[in-house]
């Protein structure tokens, strides 16, 4: 026993000594690739000179610019795309990656330490606070001097929300992609129905999709409408049929208020209740994990889903779909009794800004401009032409990834895509240019059929105190009203009262004032 014990002790002590020594060697330097970056730059510039020192007009040492990105990939140590950017701009770009769930936490810790990354992203609410605390650099003159591509690309949308015509505090990131209503056309053929255009037709289609074995499997394994309380896009099309902008501010009798208080709200609830009671929509919509909903689309359970086409028919097609051959989709616009119908407009709510602690703002903006140019945008999205991908038909946006980068995880590990989402261009970026036709059609249909809203760019002051309270009451109302077996009108009135009492009344007031100010 004693021998064994002393052996174990000796081994443990040895391990500990090794580890302690290893631990003590880790210093605080965090420069990961600056030296290699610099040498490649120097290597490309020296041409004729062989032995002696560089001539008097030596290029200045590349400046280090950092940016904080949110993403879930594990990049390799020296992503070749990053190296390429450094080469082309002569700036030592050092992007940092944090898991998206922790982005804000990491950013906050860096802010508290006054150790900000030069570029970082934020929403309107945080942006206003950062601006007031002096954390951001005002960009008008810098953009004018060094960022022609960004100016040209953002155009008139530059001055909105956080920015005014004279003061640019953050560069707006593209608005989210529009929502669309995807309907399985292969199922439509099997049940002998056309693309629905009214609420009644929509009901018929959902009924057929649930009960008439649209996938010809002989089993009752399909469901009409995909629904999940955490995905607003799945509810929005029915609200759109009554011209209610779901989850956006709406105008009711001259007051800017929540969609909850719209006079036709209960009519929408009625429709969903009918679907719920007849089993034509996902019954677990309130407590189902998000991933399960997507899985049910991919494995062919759902026939109709409201979601951005960029997912349904572009990114997920065909790889995520289990069925073979993969499903075919079409787009629907459902119109209500007054002939209205459509999808929410999309507003830019994200920005990226330059930290006031940045020591080289000119260089930083130059870098941002390159990354926001057509060339940079393409480089960040696809990678290096000839290495990561090649064009099959550039005019039509057809491309092909080259092995081993045709595996998306490998491509991202080498720097593809993961840094693109911060600097990318509006409308005219690599992703949009290469979307398939069906997807572009879906997006266009959505853009052509907007629902009215009373959007305000600024936030009512009371929002800071309320957090997501009002939104949560809205969710509670929707979920409970759809499933309740009690008196719907009474319960609805109670939810409206709660909304008003828990801050909604003040919110309405402030929002209406802001709206009048923004729309004179």
């Amino acid at each position: 026993m004693n021998q064994k014990l002393s052996k174990i002790l000796a081994l443990t002590t040895a391990l500990l000594i090794v580890f302690t020594l290893a631990a003590c060697q880790g210093g605080t330097t965090t420069t990961t690739g600056s030296t290699t970056g610099a040498t490649t730059t120097k290597a490309t510039t020296t041409a004729a000179t062989t032995t002696t020192a560089p001539t008097t007009t030596a290029p200045r040492d590349p400046v280090t610019i950092t940016s904080l990105h949110s993403g879930v990939t594990v990049p390799v140590e020296q992503p070749s795309i990053v190296l390429k950017v450094r080469e082309l701009t002569n700036i030592n770009w050092e992007p940092m990656l944090v898991g998206s769930a922790d982005y804000q936490t990491k950013l906050n810790s860096l802010i508290a330490a006054r150790d900000l990354p030069d570029f970082f992203s934020f929403g309107l609410v945080n942006g206003l606070e950062y601006k007031d605390s002096g954390m951001l650099v005002e960009l008008t003159s810098l953009l004018a001097d060094y960022a022609p591509d960004i100016l040209e690309n953002r155009g008139e949308f530059l001055a909105s929300g956080l920015n005014t015509a004279d003061e640019i505090w953050g560069i707006p990131k593209p608005p989210g992609y529009h929502n669309a209503l995807a309907v399985r056309t292969d199922w439509l053929t099997n049940v002998g129905l056309d693309m629905p255009e009214t609420l009644d037709e929509f009901y018929e289609v959902l009924k057929a999709f649930t009960e008439n074995d649209p996938n010809k499997s002989g089993k009752k394994d399909t469901l009409g409408l995909a629904a999940n309380i955490l995905y607003p896009t799945m509810w929005q099309p029915v609200f759109g049929a009554y011209d209610i902008a779901y989850k956006l501010p709406v105008m009711v009798d001259g007051v800017v208020t929540s969609h909850l208080l719209h006079p036709d709200y209960l009519k929408v609830i009625e429709f969903f209740r009918k679907l719920y009671q007849e089993g034509l929509m996902e019954p677990d919509f309130a407590n189902m994990p998000q991933m399960s909903t997507l899985e049910k689309l991919w494995n062919g359970t759902y026939g109709v889903m409201g979601f951005t086409p960029v997912g349904t028919t572009n990114n997920w097609m065909p790889g995520r779909y289990v069925e073979s051959p993969p499903p075919t989709f079409g787009w629907a616009v459902i119109r209500g009794p007054e002939g209205k119908g459509g999808f929410n407009k999309s507003y830019a709510t994200g920005y990226y800004g330059l930290a006031s602690t940045c020591e080289e703002p000119e260089e930083a903006i130059k870098l941002a401009n390159f990354l926001g140019s057509k060339e940079g945008d393409q480089l960040l999205y696809f990678g290096i032409e000839g290495k990561h991908f090649k064009w099959v038909n550039e005019a039509e946006g057809k491309y092909e990834y080259l092995a081993p980068y045709n595996d998306s995880a490998t491509q991202r590990a080498d720097g593809g895509f993961i840094f693109w989402s911060q600097f990318n261009r509006w409308n005219d970026n690599a992703e949009i240019r290469t979307m398939n036709i069906l997807t572009r059609e879906g997006l266009q249909l959505s853009i052509d059929n907007p629902v009215s809203d009373a959007y305000i760019y600024q936030r009512p002051a009371i929002s800071a105190e309320l957090g997501s309270t009002l939104g949560d009451i809205e969710n509670e109302a929707l979920a409970n009203l759809v499933v309740t077996t009690g008196n719907v009108e009474e319960e609805y009135a109670a939810y409206v009262q709660r909304w008003l009492n828990e801050g909604g009344e003040i919110w309405q007031q402030q929002a209406t004032e802001i709206y009048k100010m923004e729309n004179p």
Partner: protein, 317 residues
């Protein structure tokens, strides 16, 4: 027999104390590294608690954070949502305490009776597993089992012809709290047995011998030897546990809560999270945390007092 209180003159008392300390000086030196740790990493950062009373901005830092007194607390206590969350927190926390505290103890007693070593190891390892999986994962698995429409439980119910009457435990206000308590016990009891098993392992075997000689039955042995010996540990764990009375399980509720049950499941921590989620509202979070800690401290001191009344040697402090 009355003991006469002999009051020692102060100076002699002091000399005695110093003598005692000198004799055991190595003991006092032994604690120095640990004390330095606590001073440095726990007490130095405590100035952060003052954020609860200040208008704090991350970038401007502490030097530029004006003092605003109890404003944050007042605002917090006055909202309907907070009051609802507070009530839920008490109810859920007490339920979890009442059912969840004894569970690992009983389980460790049961495990202790298993003689078959391989089985014991296998069972113990298996019971430990849910603790290591986050609620995100467990939540997904629970949904897969308990969904009344697409879950395993539906398939089982249909075998008995009762397919339609399966209750949606995860989405029904009436059953959700029970679901929270049961699922948390299930997830954590394996891990909870470790402390008690370690304590049981240290029991002198002769005590069992003596009890057997006295003719004690198995249940009697368990009661008078095992439980009695680990009683100090049980008391300690209980006292420590009540300190967290206002923390009713953030991660679990954050993952499992949904609009159908939020009325009965929203707790202080999830409420604070939702308020601060858009803007990093450290002041509010710190204020809520401070509130929880103060209540917890009162609970611990109370529990400790009661424990000491019953048995001088037990308790925490």
């Amino acid at each position: 027999m009355a003991k006469k209180m002999y009051k020692e003159p102060v100076r002699r008392r002091l000399k005695r104390e110093i003598g005692a300390i000198k004799r055991d000086r190595l003991l006092y030196i032994m604690v120095i590294p640990g004390v330095i740790f606590f001073l440095l990493f726990r007490y130095v950062p405590m100035y952060g608690i003052t954020i609860a009373f200040r208008d704090y901005n991350l970038f401007r830092g502490f030097s530029d954070a004006p003092f605003i007194g109890m404003k944050i607390f007042n605002r917090m206590f006055n909202t309907v949502a907070f009051n609802r969350a507070f009530v839920n927190t008490i109810i859920i926390s007490l339920s979890k305490l009442a059912w969840g505290f004894p569970a690992p103890i009983i389980l460790s007693l049961m495990l202790n009776e298993v003689g078959h070593m391989k089985l014991k190891k296998a069972v113990q390892t298996s019971l430990l597993l849910p603790h290591f999986m986050s609620w995100v994962v467990i939540g997904g698995v629970l949904y897969m089992i308990l969904s009344p429409n697409s879950g395993i439980i539906r398939d089982i119910a249909e075998l008995f012809g009762k397919g339609e009457s399966v209750v949606n435990v995860m989405g029904d206000k009436r059953y959700f709290r029970t679901f929270l308590v049961v699922s948390e016990i299930w997830k954590g009891m394996g891990y909870g047995t470790i402390v008690y098993l370690a304590a049981i392992a240290g029991i002198d075997q002769e005590l069992y011998e003596a009890a057997r000689c006295d003719g004690a039955s198995k249940p009697a042995q368990i009661w008078h030897v095992t439980l009695a010996s680990i009683r100090p540990m049980i008391v300690l764990m209980l006292i420590l546990r009540v300190g967290h009375i206002l923390g009713a399980g953030f991660e679990q509720i954050f993952v499992l809560s949904n609009p159908l049950v939020v009325e009965v499941a929203d707790i202080v921590d999830t409420y604070v999270y939702r308020i601060g989620v858009e803007q990093a509202n450290y002041s509010l979070g710190t204020a809520a945390g401070l509130f929880k800690s103060v209540i917890g401290l009162i609970m611990v001191l109370g529990a400790n007092y009661v424990a000491k009344k019953i048995d001088e040697d037990s308790g925490l402090i």
